[in-house]
C-alpha cells in the first residue's frame, strides 16, 4: 500500500473525509453566461490567504513604534533576503484583494444573488467587505510614512465629527486626541489580532451559508431555464469547479509575483508629525472617491458642516446598500430595474470620482 493511500485511509478512518467529499460533490455550480463571476469570491479568499502568510512573515521583523516602524520596514526591504518581495506581495495582494472583494460584491449585486433566502450570506459578505477595508486602513499606517500618517489623520477625524459619539470613537481609534505612537500601536493590534479574528469568524460563516444555500442563479437565467428546461446546465463543485478555481489562483499568484517583482511597493518618506501635508497627497485608490467627494463639498451646506454631511451621506448609503435584500422583494418588475439603475449609478459615481481624484490637482 502506498504512503498516499495509507494516509488517505488514516484520514478517512479518523475524520470521515468521505463525508466531506460527498458534501462537496453534492454542491453544484450553475453554468451560464455569468458563471465566471462565481470565481471572484474564491479569488478574494485566496488573496486573503496570501495576506495571512506574508503578514506572518512580516511580523518576524516589523516593530510597531514610531521610532522603529519605518526603519523596520526599510530593513525588511533592503536587508532581509527576499524581504522586498514579501512586503511587496503583501501590499499588492492587499490591493488586489480589495479589488476582487468589490468586484465580487458588485457581481452579487447585479446578479441579485442577495435575494431570499441568501440575505444572511449578503450581510456576512458586507461585514467581510468592511473588514477588508479596515484591514487596508489599519495596515496603511504601519510603515509610518508621510502619506499613511495624513491618511490616518483624515480617516480618523471623519468619524470624530459624528455628533455625541464622535469624540469617543476618535479617542478609541487614535489612543488619544492626536495621531501618535499610541495610534500606531492600536492599529497594529487591530491589524494583526482583532481584524484577523473577526475575519476568520465571518469567512467561516460566509462559507457555511454558501454551502447551506448553494449558488444563486440570476433571475434572467432562471426565466430562460424555466422556458427551456433543457438549457439548464451545472457542474459539480468537486472536482470540476475546484480545479478551475485552483488554476485561476495559480494565474493570480503569477500576476502577483510579476507585480511585486517589476513594480515593488514603495515605502515613501518617514512620517514627521510636525511637517505640513505634502502637496498632491492622496489616499489609496479605494478611498479616492470619498476623498474627492469631501474635497468638493463646501464648508457649509445649509445649517450643516460639509464634512459631517459627507460622512453621514456615505454612512447612510452604506447602510441602505447593506440592507438591500430586505428592500428588493420584486421578482422582475419596476423595483428590480430601479435597483439595477441605482447600482449602475453607484459604480459610475465611484469610477468617475476616482478618475477625477487622480486627474485633479
Amino acid at each position: 500500500m502506498s504512503a498516499w493511500t495509507s494516509t488517505q485511509q488514516w484520514l478517512e478512518e479518523h475524520f470521515r473525509t468521505d463525508e466531506v467529499i460527498a458534501l462537496l460533490r453534492h454542491k453544484m455550480i450553475p453554468l451560464h453566461r455569468y458563471s465566471p463571476f462565481y470565481f471572484l469570491g474564491g479569488m478574494t479568499l485566496f488573496l486573503f490567504g496570501i495576506q495571512v502568510v506574508t503578514g506572518i512573515l512580516l511580523l518576524l521583523y516589523y516593530r510597531p513604534t514610531p521610532n522603529d516602524a519605518f526603519e523596520s520596514v526599510q530593513y525588511i526591504m533592503t536587508q532581509v533576503r527576499f524581504g522586498w518581495l514579501v512586503r511587496s506581495i503583501h501590499s499588492w495582494s492587499a490591493n488586489l484583494m480589495i479589488l476582487t472583494a468589490f468586484a465580487h460584491m458588485f457581481s452579487v449585486f447585479f446578479m441579485r444573488a442577495y435575494r431570499k433566502p441568501r440575505e444572511l450570506t449578503w450581510l456576512s459578505g458586507m461585514a467581510l467587505l468592511i473588514l477588508v477595508l479596515c484591514f487596508g486602513f489599519s495596515g496603511y499606517l504601519l510603515p509610518w510614512n508621510t502619506l499613511s500618517f495624513f491618511a490616518t489623520k483624515v480617516g480618523t477625524d471623519l468619524p470624530g465629527q459624528m455628533p455625541v459619539v464622535g469624540k469617543w470613537i476618535l479617542n478609541f481609534l487614535r489612543g488619544g486626541e492626536d495621531v501618535t505612537g499610541a495610534t500606531l500601536t492600536r492599529f497594529f493590534g487591530f491589524h494583526v489580532a482583532l481584524l484577523p479574528g473577526l475575519a476568520t469568524i465571518f469567512v467561516g460563516l460566509h462559507l457555511l451559508l454558501i454551502q447551506r444555500f448553494g449558488m444563486s442563479v440570476p433571475p434572467s437565467i432562471e426565466a430562460e431555464w424555466k422556458a427551456n428546461p433543457s438549457a439548464a446546465r451545472e457542474m459539480p463543485f468537486y472536482p470540476n469547479f475546484l480545479l478551475r478555481e485552483l488554476m485561476a489562483w495559480y494565474i493570480a499568484l503569477g500576476i502577483l509575483g510579476a507585480l511585486a517583482a517589476f513594480k515593488p511597493w514603495e515605502l515613501g518618506v518617514k512620517a514627521d508629525p510636525f511637517a505640513p501635508a505634502p502637496a498632491g497627497i492622496r489616499p489609496e485608490w479605494y478611498f479616492m472617491f470619498m476623498f474627492q467627494t469631501l474635497k468638493l463639498i463646501p464648508a457649509k451646506v445649509g445649517p450643516m458642516n460639509g464634512e459631517i454631511l459627507g460622512a453621514a451621506g456615505f454612512g447612510l448609503g452604506a447602510l441602505v446598500w447593506t440592507l438591500l435584500p430586505f428592500f428588493d422583494r420584486d421578482k422582475n418588475g419596476r423595483g428590480a430595474r430601479w435597483i439595477a439603475g441605482v447600482g449602475v449609478f453607484v459604480v459610475a459615481y465611484i469610477v468617475c470620482l476616482t478618475v477625477y481624484g487622480y486627474m485633479a490637482r
Binding site: 495624513f150 489623520k153 483624515v154 477625524d157 471623519l158 469617543w168 479617542n171 478609541f172 489612543g175 488619544g176 492626536d178 499610541a182 508629525p273 510636525f274 511637517a275 505640513p276 501635508a277 505634502p278 502637496a279 498632491g280 497627497i281 476623498f291 469631501l294 474635497k295 463639498i297 463646501p298 464648508a299 457649509k300 458642516n305 460639509g306 464634512e307
Partner: protein, 137 residues
Amino acid sequence: MEIFFGAGVAASLASFLYPVLRYLIPPQTVELTSDTVLAGKVGDLKPNTGKIFRFGSRPAILVLSSDGTYHALSAICTHLGCTVQYRPDLHEVWCACHNGLYSLNGRNISGPPPRPLESYEVLLKGNEIYVRRERNA
C-alpha cells in the same frame, strides 16, 4: 426567579464590560507646557515664507508676510486635521489634503474648512520670536 436570574446575568455582564469599555479610552493627558513658546529667531524666515513649529504637542505655523509682518496660527486644518503650509504663490495658508485655503489671519476663505485657524499672538523679544495663545481665545 427569572427576573432575579436575568438581573444577575445582566449585572455580571455589565461588571465585565464596563472596565473593558473604560480601558479602551486612553486617560486624558494634561498639557503642562506654557502658553508661550519660542517659534524661531529673526532672520530664520525670509519674507513671503513660513515654517511649522511645535506649540506644545501640536503643530503651529509662523509666516513672515511680504510686508514684513509675522503671523502665527494653529497648523491643524479645521476640516479634517491635516497640517497646513504657507503658499508663497498665493500669499495664503493652504491645506494640501482637501485644498482648503486660509488668510494670514487664519480666516477660512475657500475650500471645505468650516472654521478659521486659531490665531496666536507674536511677540518679538530681541532676536527671538515668541508665540503666545491669545488671551481672549
